[in-house]
Subunit: 205 residues, 2 copies
C-alpha cells in the first residue's frame, strides 16, 4: 500500500560553520528524490559557485521586484546581502507529493516554519562553540570583522533552539545524515500527517 | 559526545490482530537494550505462556490490591480480564536513561500517555480491515462471540487514531520494525527532549 502524503518540507538550518552545506550535500547524494530548492541571493558568487545551480544570483533590483510580488517563501538580509527562497517551485513540489529540502540560515528558517507549520525545522549544531569558532576562522573568504559578526550571530541563533523541532549534532557528517534520514522516515508516520480520507481509504484498501 | 536523556517510553498499541506481539518480539531481538515491561493479568495463561516472562499472572485479589496501592501505570478490564503495567519498574528504567517498550491494548495505551505525555504513542495498523478480520479469525483460542467482540473493539480503537503520535502499517513485520527504529532515533533528536542545562553542557563540552 502506498499513500500519497503531501511532500515533507525539511528545513535544515544552523549557524555559520555548523556544516549545513556538507551535510545537505551528502543527504542529497543519498536521497536523489529529495527536491532541493535553490536560494536566490544578491551576494557575489564565491569561487566555484555556479548561477542557477548553487544559487540564483540576482541584482538588488531584481530581488526587490520578487519581494514585491510575494515571490519568496522567506527572505532576509544577512551580513549586508539579500537571500530568498523562491515560493512557487517549493509549493508545487509539496503539492505533488515531493519532499523538499531547504538549506537556509536561522532567520529565514523561522520565517518558513511560521508560514508553513507542517515544515520540519532542524537545527544543525557543531560539536561545541569552540569548534564552531575554529570552523568560522578556517574559512578564508571573509574579513576578521565578518568572522566576528558570524560568531556573534551564531550565539544568538543557538539561543533560539527551542523554536526548532529537531536538534542534530554535526560531529560526524555521515551520522548526522543518517539521523536526518530517520527523522524523515519518522515524520512520514506521524498521525497528524494523515487526513481522515486517507485513513479511511487505507483501511478499506 | 553522549547526552543522558531520560529514557524514551515507547508505547506500541493497536487492535487485536494488528500483530503487535510479533512486531515487538522482533524489535526487542534487534534492540536488546530496550527494556520490556511485563504486564500483569488475571487471565489464564495460553499454552506456552510463562509466568514472570510473558505475563505476571495474578489472582483477581492480588490484582485489586495492586490497584489500591497505585501500583499500575495503567490497568484495564478487557474482555472480562484485568491487565496492568507495573509502575515502579518502568519509572526506574526511565529515570536511569533506559528506553522502555510497552506493548499494550489501546485502552491502556491512552491512559499511559495521559499520565506521561512524553511517551511515544504508536498505533500499529493491519494493512486493511478485512486482513484484521482474517487474523482475528485465524486465532484458535477464542469463541465466536469473543472474536466478534474483538472486531467491534478494533473498529472503535481505529476511530481513536488521532490521539496517537505515530501510525505504522504492519504490512511486513521487518519494515514495521525498521520504521519504529527510525521513530526512536528521531525522537531522541527532538528539541523538546533537551533541557537548557543539557544544551549548555553540550555547547561548552
Amino acid at each position: 500500500m502506498r499513500l500519497v502524503h503531501p511532500g515533507l518540507l525539511l528545513i535544515v538550518s544552523g549557524p555559520s560553520g555548523c556544516g549545513k552545506g556538507t551535510v545537505c550535500d551528502l543527504l542529497r547524494k543519498r536521497n536523489p528524490n529529495l527536491a532541493y530548492s535553490i536560494s536566490a541571493t544578491t551576494r557575489r558568487a564565491r569561487p566555484g559557485e555556479r548561477d542557477g545551480i548553487d544559487y540564483l544570483f540576482l541584482t538588488p533590483d531584481d530581488f526587490q521586484h520578487q519581494v514585491e510580488q510575494d515571490g519568496f517563501l522567506e527572505w532576509a538580509r544577512v551580513f549586508g546581502h539579500f537571500y530568498g527562497t523562491p515560493r512557487a517551485w517549493v509549493e508545487e513540489c509539496l503539492e505533488t507529493g515531493k519532499d523538499v529540502l531547504l538549506e537556509i540560515d536561522p532567520q529565514g528558517a523561522l520565517q518558513v516554519k511560521a508560514g508553513y507549520p507542517a515544515g520540519i525545522l532542524l537545527f544543525l549544531l557543531p560539536p561545541s562553540l569552540s569548534e564552531l569558532e575554529n570552523r568560522i576562522n578556517r574559512r578564508g573568504t571573509e574579513s576578521a570583522e565578518e568572522k566576528a559578526q558570524r560568531l556573534k550571530a551564531a550565539e544568538r541563533e543557538i539561543a533560539q533552539i527551542r523554536y526548532y523541532d529537531y536538534l542534530v549534532v554535526n560531529d560526524k557528517v555521515e551520522q548526522a545524515v543518517l539521523t536526518i534520514e530517520a527523522i524523515l522516515q519518522a515524520e512520514r508516520s506521524r498521525v497528524d500527517r494523515y487526513s481522515k480520507q486517507k485513513l479511511k481509504a487505507m483501511l478499506e484498501g
